[in-house]
């Protein structure tokens, strides 16, 4: 009663919405890069939105289902198939025992989330099932999935659930992945940058380099400099913090970022745009747009209201549409 991993893919890890409460001890958040996609995937199969799923990166894994299961695939379109037939995303799908989930070309986005009804049976460590790769714990043995792995389901699939003919209206809450404008608010050290750097930051494009992973994205773009060079005193950083390091490169911190950093923080990506950021492929270009804190929080509130509505619709489905 679980899945067999036939091949690991580029980087497939078990992630939930993060390991909160331990950042003061240097223990990072981890969790899905695109939590919005993971949460939605969970809701679609009737799970708690914070349940763990499998984050598949660019080149997805091969997965054999050892028993019937209700699943959903959300996030990036990585040309997923079930037994070589294209899999419809963002909707509940009943897969039968012996079926194989495969992936093909990355059509849009970078990270796809596999959620299963009831979730995967991996232990919660420090309150989370997320994989912390560098420290080697969480998820499945603290590492990425590889061929030969077996991950049990936590619950036997209930025949009462079924793949009802329904899919969610993505546009209501999930960003258009072709929209490459990332909204930011000013970072704590924004004013320390030279006027030229601050202007270039918003006028010019940045390209996601190959040196980009779950810890952070290195961007290629205008060289950014402080008005007066100075040493920073290390302080907390978070998902979406844009630090400027070394010779003036911008780094965007992502899900596996360290808890503290000692580089000037020029801007901070707003939470409502994390999905857009998480779904970027290396080589793609983005532009930054400055908003206020109030606008950032309003955008997040709007997104959360849409999610809540989706949650209510789905709860109604699961309780009445059987």
């Amino acid at each position: 009663m679980g899945i067999n991993v036939l091949k690991g893919g580029l980087l497939s890890t078990i992630q939930d919405t993060g390991r909160f409460g331990y950042r003061k001890d240097g223990i990072i958040l981890s969790g899905a890069m695109d939590t919005l996609a993971l949460r939605t995937g969970n809701m679609i199969v009737g799970n708690d939105e914070h349940e763990a799923g499998i984050e598949c990166t660019l080149i997805g894994p091969g997965i054999l289902f050892e028993s019937d299961q209700l699943i959903a695939l959300s996030g990036a379109d990585l040309s997923a198939t079930i037994d070589n037939i294209p899999l419809k995303m963002w909707r509940p799908v009943l897969v039968r025992k012996g079926s194989v989930l495969g992936f093909g070309a990355a059509v849009a986005g970078c990270r796809s989330y596999l959620t299963v009804s009831g979730g995967f049976a991996v232990a919660k460590i420090l309150g989370s099932r997320s994989t912390y790769l560098r420290a080697g714990f969480g998820g499945l043995k603290g590492r990425a999935l590889q061929a030969g792995d077996y991950i049990p389901f936590r619950e036997r699939y209930q025949e009462t659930l079924h793949d009802f003919n329904w899919s969610c209206d993505l546009s209501a809450f999930y960003p258009d992945l072709n929209d490459r404008v990332i909204r930011v608010i000013k970072g704590p050290e924004n004013e320390l940058f030279s006027a030229g750097s601050r202007q270039a930051f918003f006028e010019q494009e940045f390209q996601l380099s190959n040196e980009s992973d779950r810890m952070g994205y290195r961007l290629k773009g205008p060289v950014l400099a402080l008005e007066t060079p100075q040493e920073m005193i290390s302080s907390a950083v978070t998902f979406g913090t844009v630090q400027v390091i070394g010779k003036g490169d911008a780094i965007v911190l992502m899900a596996d970022h360290q808890t503290t950093g000692g580089y000037p923080r020029i801007v901070q990506v707003i939470t409502a745009d994390f999905s857009k950021l998480a779904q970027l492929q290396s080589g793609q270009k983005i532009r930054f747009e400055l908003v206020t804190l109030a606008q950032a929080q309003a955008a997040l509130l709007h997104q959360e209201q849409q999610i809540k509505q989706l949650q209510q619709t789905l709860t109604f489905k699961y309780n009445n549409d059987i």
């Binding site: 909160f20 409460g21 331990y22 950042r23 003061k24 001890d25 240097g26 223990i27 990072i28 460590i125 420090l126 560098r134 420290a135 080697g136 714990f137 608010i185 970072g187 704590p188 005193i233 290390s234 302080s235 907390a236 950083v237 978070t238 979406g240 913090t241 360290q258 808890t259 503290t260 923080r265 901070q268 990506v269 707003i270 939470t271 804190l293 950032a296 929080q297 997040l300 509130l301 959360e304």
Partner: protein, 236 residues
């Protein structure tokens, strides 16, 4: 102490955190104030509070903007600061001894540090084990302490080429900082020794050995003792 709490500056770190900044200099009084604030936050949480991260001169407080606004978190923190200023209370300071095997295969850069300081290896060990270091903050890696108190005589530049991986328990020096690596990681620090103590062990009730506010003393131990403790499962 009370007056300095009034100079606290607040600013946002994105849309889910607020930073209380207590100055621009790393100092013991600032550290003490931060400890008092953390102590308070451990006792009294507030609606929408997620977690806090202390650093050298700041405490960053994460909150849920869906439940609570930036303004209300700030006013809450201002009230808290008044309370803390009136009744400053630090958590009890702990002293943690860290046994270190210096030099040899455990500390391949000890001679480099000695040569840079124009001292013998024994003198470097003696200077490194002398002070009581203060854990200013934890960051970089799980349980990694930022320690203050290194004798300037043994401050050393980072390695020109960082090592791809150094073992957990490695004790190093970089600039005027010294520290211990809780997990295997790439590093540019000069490695002068190794401890069998685990600074991070996810299977312990308290996974991290050290926390901000602790005091640390390094104790030189024999190679042999290290091997024995390694065999008993506390090594790497």
């Amino acid at each position: 102490m009370n007056s300095t709490f009034k100079d606290v500056r607040f600013y946002p770190l994105g849309d889910t955190a607020i930073v209380a900044c207590l100055g621009d200099e790393i100092s013991n009084p600032t550290h003490d104030m931060i400890q008092c604030i953390c102590n308070y936050l451990e006792e009294y949480s507030f609606e929408g509070f997620t977690e806090y991260v202390p650093a050298f001169t700041t405490v960053t407080i994460f909150y849920d903007p869906i439940t609570v606004s930036y303004q209300s978190v700030q006013s809450h923190l201002e009230e808290m600061l008044a309370e803390v200023a009136a009744h400053p209370e630090k958590p009890a300071s702990r002293i943690v001894e860290i046994p270190v095997v210096y030099g040899g295969i455990w500390g391949p850069d000890l001679e480099i540090v000695a040569a840079h300081a124009n001292l013998t290896a024994a003198a470097v060990i003696s200077l490194h084990t002398e002070p009581e270091y203060l854990v200013h903050m934890i960051g970089f890696a799980p349980g990694f302490p930022y320690l203050a108190g290194l004798n300037e005589k043994i401050a050393s530049p980072r390695r020109a080429v960082p090592r791809a991986a150094i073992a957990a328990g490695s004790v190093g020096i970089a600039g005027n900082q010294t520290g211990v690596y809780p997990i295997e990681t790439p590093a540019g620090w000069q490695i002068i020794g190794r401890t069998a103590l685990r600074l991070f062990d996810v299977n312990r009730d308290e996974p991290t050995l050290l926390r901000a506010g602790d005091r640390v003393r390094f104790v030189a131990v024999e190679d042999r003792a290290f091997e024995i403790s390694n065999k008993s499962g506390y090594g790497n």
